[in-house]
């Protein structure tokens, strides 16, 4: 009964719910038909068990009314016992062995499908914080929801069968009782409908307040805030805000609690108790009139108890479906999401030149309006579902990358180019365009004079080796981290990996690893794994671009985590390695940085500001130009030049 106060349900149009339930059913059927078959069999079996129990009991009571021979009655008890002994065998085999195994298999198949799809998504999707928050991350739930939907559907089927069977039995005892039952059910459903609508309204109001509460808890909980909380009075302000929030929540509870009390305390209450007591009253008069025996009376009451619990359970399953439908809808939206980047078909020749032709770029969401609306709805819903104990930090939406405005330039084979500029100048966006993670809004990008959209996307990207600022080390072996997962363990591959690591100045560290290239990295999976320091990890990431003969190497601020000495050494070796390893073919390298000291050796430097290419040329030319670059360089260098450095 207390659960009545806590039911929370979102409102969804019934048709949408049905459509998506049907879709998920079809999906599960396609992935693992045996799951649905066994679940259906099991569910039908339970409808049978429930019905049989009521009928056996009824028969037993009738026997008690009409006969006084022990065996006439006991035979039904023995029969029911035997029935239970038999049917519980398949029930337990299914419930504890078969079902867990099938569910596990289904989860795997759903996951694998989603993962493959995720792999093919435009990378731009991940840059879209809404996508990240709503679609990808919340997708964790989809397997649970699919299973829940299928279970709920079958539960509804078996409840309806049982309820019908029991109602039929009750009708044979007394028609009025049957009609009463129906009325009770209808009133309960109506009350539930209005109740759930009111809940949606209250939830909408309480949601932001709950969000505040969870934020405040996080501020106290997380170590990120601990230092500042101790060195300032922010804690008092947080407590103050928490108290305000509570006041506001109390106000809402007072306001809406009255309505809920009326709805459930009067409507629901009268319907449910009314049915019960009216049935007993009817039976009392039937009994005293001699139309029903004591046994018949007891059977009716027992059936009534059973029926009420079945109806309760049925209502729960029905109310569950809209909740699941929300997730299911998102799941299909994800699977159906169409990529904006379409691969071309042309094979990709060796790199000669890369040209930007009046390229402009404006960030646009990769989502349709419908997808966004759904995402927003899920976000609200998730908050409501997860409640306040959530400590997972939600990523706040990042700023949209700055647009690029009318950028034109050409990079030729063998050139060392530096792209410099302040944060937010558009450097990283530019690189994403080069790698065709986005397509330009206007203008063209040409590879060997041909629009990159015409090339096969995968082959095109394979030509480019990139190290990003936010590189990742995987929980795999060192060799796999450099070469890619599951590479063939041949001598040739191994020597390539070793060379690459050497070029990234990782050899010293490698010599301390007992298992060499097979050393597992990170402790995420393997407890014996090695955790690399920031600088070491960065070197492993850099080795990735040396292990294959890329035509074009992009270094997106790769040395940011290194201390000055290491940064200095690494810059040397990147250039050396890039040039020497390619059988005479000079590699083309693009460096991105906001530290000018690391890039001044480049053949050409592009200075970006506010999405525009402002200045370009060699370091000397740019300094001579006395423009922005010169100013920026001077400022960075000033402190060093003030310093009185004795001659080396």
């Amino acid at each position: 009964m207390n659960t009545v106060a806590k039911i929370r349900k979102p409102r969804r149009r019934a048709r949408t719910v049905l459509v998506y339930d049907a879709k998920i059913l079809a999906k599960v059927w396609r992935l693992l038909p045996s799951y649905i078959i066994f679940l259906a069999l099991w569910s039908l079996m339970w409808a049978g068990i429930d019905t049989a129990a009521v009928y056996f009991r009824n028969a037993m009571f009738n026997a008690l009314d009409t006969s006084d021979r022990f065996m006439d009655v006991a035979v039904f008890i023995f029969a029911l016992a035997l029935f239970y002994l038999v049917v519980f065998v398949p029930d337990h085999i299914y419930g504890l062995i078969l079902n867990p195994i099938l569910e596990n298999k289904l989860r795997y198949r759903m996951h694998a499908e989603l993962y493959r799809k995720a792999q093919k998504m435009d990378l731009a999707c991940y840059d879209d914080p809404d996508f990240y928050n709503q679609f990808v991350w919340a997708m964790r739930e989809s397997d649970n929801r699919a299973i829940a939907v299928v279970r709920a559907l079958w539960n509804i089927v078996n409840r309806i069968i049982s309820a019908t069977a029991i109602s039929a039995l009750l009708l044979t005892i007394n028609v009025w009782m049957g009609i009463l039952m129906m009325t009770g059910v209808v009133i309960t459903l109506v009350v539930d409908y209005f109740g759930s609508r009111l809940w949606v309204k209250v939830m909408e109001k309480m949601n932001p307040l709950w969000r505040r509460e969870s934020y405040i808890t996080r501020v106290f909980n997380l170590s990120d805030y601990a230092k500042e909380m101790r060195t300032s009075d922010v804690g008092d302000m947080m407590t103050r805000d928490c108290e305000d929030t509570v006041q506001e929540l109390n106000r809402l509870d007072l306001k809406y609690g009255k309505w809920f009390t009326l709805l459930y305390g009067v409507g629901f209450n009268l319907a449910r108790r009314g049915t019960y007591y009216a049935t007993i009253l009817i039976m009392v008069f039937e009994l005293s009139a001699g139309r029903v025996g004591l046994g018949g009376f007891a059977a009716a009451v027992a059936s009534l108890w059973m029926l009420q619990s079945i109806m309760m359970n049925l209502a729960e399953s029905l109310m569950e479906l809209p909740k699941h439908a929300l997730y299911v809808e998102k799941y299909f939206k994800f699977l159906e999401h169409e990529n904006h980047l379409v691969s071309g078909t042309e094979p990709v020749p060796a790199f000669e030149s890369l040209t930007f032709e009046n390229v402009s770029f404006t960030y646009r969401s990769v989502f349709t309006d419908a997808e966004m609306a759904l995402a927003a709805e899920i976000k609200e819903f998730e908050k409501r579902e997860r409640g306040k104990t959530d400590t997972e930090e939600e990523k706040s939406p990042e700023e949209r990358p700055t647009v690029l405005k009318n950028v034109s330039f050409t990079i030729r084979k063998g050139e060392k180019t530096a792209i410099v500029g302040y944060n937010g100048a558009g450097k990283t966006t530019l690189i994403k365009l080069v790698m065709r993670l986005y397509d330009p809004t206007e203008g063209r990008i040409l590879y060997n004079g041909r629009d990159i959209r015409e090339y096969d996307l995968r082959a095109y990207r394979d030509r480019i080796g990139a190290v990003f600022q936010d590189y990742r080390i995987f929980a795999a072996t060192l060799g796999e981290n450099v070469m890619g997962g599951g590479y063939e363990r041949t001598d040739e591959n191994e020597s390539r990996i070793r060379e690459a690591l050497d070029s990234a100045t990782f050899t010293d560290r490698l010599s301390t690893m007992e298992k060499g290239l097979e050393t597992p990295l990170t402790r995420e999976i393997d407890k014996e794994g090695v955790n690399l320091s920031g600088g070491e990890a960065q070197k492993v990431a850099i080795a990735r671009v040396f292990v294959r003969p890329y035509d074009l190497i992009i270094m997106d601020e790769p040395s940011s985590a290194l201390d000055p000495v290491a940064e200095y050494q690494l810059n040397h070796s990147i250039l050396n390695a890039a040039d020497s390893r390619d059988c005479g073919r000079e590699a083309t390298v693009i460096f991105i940085s906001h530290r000018l000291s690391t890039t001044r050796f480049a053949d050409r430097i592009f200075l970006f500001a506010n999405g525009e290419l402002c200045e370009q040329g060699s370091h000397d030319e740019l300094v001579a130009m006395e423009g922005k670059y010169a100013e920026m360089f001077r400022m960075q260098a000033e402190k060093y030049q003030q310093g009185d450095i004795p001659d080396a």
């Binding site: 239970y84 808890t217 109390n250 104990t389 890619g484 997962g485 599951g486 040397h572």
Partner: protein, 627 residues
């Protein structure tokens, strides 16, 4: 998130602890005490209402059945009975209505009062414990969990308690009913106790199964993150790591299936036995006995027999419910244990009520040592330095050389393992903790922006309430914003300095970029009058021009204040009055920039390397780099 990971990791493979009965009792009473203090009437009404509900359930269920059967069996008048039933109906709906009113209106507010009281207690303690607690994984595992669970746990304890009274009543009432009909029937209700060992064994197996699966689930979870998280997305596409991960997932699935099959057979057999013992042996056995007693022995009347047939199942049901509930008290106690340990924890760094107020002056650090809990070696090995009023000090050195640890000790966020920090000759712990910390204004590399207004974020306190104070505060904030270069940005915000930052509280809140946020964090320095300013690499997200301007402003604004500047960019050390070079937790060189350069040690070496590319001409550099 990372702490969450750790928790899960540590949890698997650990046997659930067992608490002595006395402890279980104490812990639950502790929680009840907390509830009683926060919402005294709530606990009382709650228990009474639930008890009332159990009473009404009994009388409207089995008892009503018996009354009807007895009454009519003796040829009683149906109309009298009808009035009785209507009376029951009236009582029933009244109780339910009262319960709804309580649950819908009164309970949420009382619960919130309770949550608030718990939260304030936790927040206060959270603020008091030393920073190193946050860095200790064991701390996180235990206390943060306790903290997250505290509110739910309070509610659960209450719920268990109210159920307890209700269950005991239902059990006794139904048992008495059966007893009055035939005492032998009670034996059947006790059968579930006889097979209790089956449940125990089953739980053990389930625990082991869970343990085995956890390890694999952990791996599957990692793979999932690899595919879903933005951080991995680029490399997943570029390195071909995805095939390996999918392959691993495949193996994991097969392995999980094997485990499920292995354990499934045993759990199925045990569950089957338990189920049969309840449904067949207990319930049907009792039915059989009742029928036998009625028809063969004639010791029970037909009416009573019917009552037995209908309610014998519920007695053993209530009994099982009661047992489960009692066990849950033990579970509550385990969590409350953590909560109590947390609340009772004596912080190592405490407010010193008799301490003197820190008022600025010369700070002398002598032979300071610090070792992190559980570490084998010291992180700081005897650091000595002094900070004179108004002095500009640079702490330089590579990452991990102990600079940040030193700052945390200086702020008394850690308790020194050895050595002393004195202010004007008075040791650190002879000052009040609040005034000590207030004499510093630190800006950390990992500064936070709070979901507060711009002004509050900068003042780190509420604006003063009186008009004069408020105007002064606003002027202070405005000046700080101008100095840090964030003023124009704030002007563009809808409510100026009263604009809410972050979207945590307000969907229309202002979200700042990395550089903007850093400027806001640095504004805190300009708005404070703490005698010592500590800047722990706070300019990393700024572009060079902004960094340069800010640095100039900082020096100007802090002309009469001491500044401790921490960096691995050596250019920032040049104008300092004194430079300390940290290496492996020691100060290896100190002096002015000039002195250190002349000495030609590590500092000079590092400086030269960083300065090189700015100094040499273009051609030279390129040649050298490629050599």
């Amino acid at each position: 998130m990372s702490t969450k990971k750790k928790n899960k990791r540590k949890n698997d493979g650990k046997k659930p602890e067992k608490l002595p009965l006395r402890r279980v009792l104490q812990n639950n009473l502790f929680m009840l005490g907390m509830i009683r203090r926060a919402a005294p009437a709530y606990i009382f009404i709650d228990v009474i209402l639930d008890l009332l509900w159990s009473v009404i359930e009994f009388f409207s269920g089995s008892f009503l059945l018996k009354v009807v059967v007895d009454h009519l069996g003796e040829g009683g008048d149906p109309v009298t009975l009808a009035w009785f039933i209507l009376g029951m109906f009236a009582i029933h709906i009244t109780v339910f209505f009262a319960q709804q009113a309580f649950w819908q209106i009164y309970a949420p507010i009382s619960q919130r009062k309770l949550y608030m009281a718990i939260r304030i207690a936790l927040y206060t303690q959270m603020q008091a414990v030393e920073l190193s607690c946050y860095e200790d994984p064991a701390y996180y595992e235990k206390y943060v969990k306790a903290m997250n669970e505290a509110e739910d746990r309070a509610f659960n304890v209450l719920w268990s308690l109210e159920r307890l009274f209700g269950q005991v009543f239902s059990l006794i009432a139904n048992a008495l009913l059966l007893w009055s009909i035939d005492p032998i029937l009670m034996l059947f209700a006790l059968i579930p106790f006889g097979v209790g060992f089956i449940r125990k064994k089953r739980n053990k197996i389930a625990f082991k199964e869970n343990e085995d699966i956890q390890k694999l689930a952990w791996k599957a979870n990692y793979i999932q993150r690899g595919f879903y998280l933005q951080d991995y997305a680029k490399e997943m596409r570029l390195t071909g790591m995805s095939d390996k991960l999918l392959h691993d997932l495949d193996e994991t699935t097969v392995e999980i299936e094997r485990i499920k099959r292995r354990y499934g057979i045993r759990t199925a057999a045990l569950d089957y036995t338990a189920r049969i013992s309840h449904e067949v042996v207990t319930v049907l056995g009792a039915c059989l006995y009742a029928v036998y007693a009625t028809l063969v022995q004639g010791s029970i009347g037909v009416g009573d027999c019917i009552v037995v047939l209908n309610s014998v199942g519920s007695v053993s049901g209530y009994l099982q419910g009661l047992v489960t509930n009692l066990v849950s008290f033990h579970e509550h106690a385990l969590y409350i244990q953590n909560l109590r340990a947390f609340l009772d924890y004596e912080p190592a760094i405490k407010e010193n009520p008799e301490g003197v107020a820190a008022n600025g002056g010369e700070i002398v650090v002598e032979n300071l040592r610090y070792r992190y809990a559980g570490a084998e070696t010291d992180t700081l090995h005897g650091v000595s330095l002094r900070i004179a009023p108004g002095e500009k000090i640079a702490l330089v050195g590579q990452n991990g050389s102990g600079k940040s640890t030193f700052v945390k000790l200086l702020l008394h966020l850690y308790e020194p393992s050895e050595g002393s920090i004195t202010l004007e000759g008075v040791p650190m712990d002879h000052h009040t903790l609040a005034s000590w910390r207030k004499s510093f204004r630190p800006v950390f590399q990992d500064y936070s922006i709070f979901a507060l207004s711009v002004a509050e974020n900068i003042l780190m306190r509420p604006l003063r309430k009186d008009p004069e104070g408020e105007a002064a505060d606003r002027a202070l904030v405005e000046n700080a914003l101008r100095q840090s270069g964030a003023f124009e940005r704030v002007l563009k915000m809808p409510h100026g300095m009263d604009t809410m930052l972050t979207r945590e509280f307000d969907d229309k809140g202002e979200v700042l970029s990395g550089g903007e946020a850093q400027k806001i964090a640095l504004s805190r320095v300009f708005a404070s009058d703490a005698p010592v300013v500590i800047l722990d690499e706070p300019t990393s997200a700024l572009d060079p021009v902004a960094e340069y301007r800010l640095f100039e402003n900082m020096m100007q604004a802090c002309a009469d204040r001491a500044v401790v500047f921490i960096s691995h960019r050596l250019s920032s050390a040049v104008p300092a009055d004194r430079v300390y070079l940290f290496e492996d937790g020691r100060i290896v060189e100190s002096g002015t920039h000039k002195e250190l350069m002349e000495r030609g040690g590590h500092y000079a070496d590092m400086f030269r390397k960083q300065a090189e590319s700015y100094r040499a001409t273009d051609a030279e550099t390129r040649e050298e780099v490629r050599a």
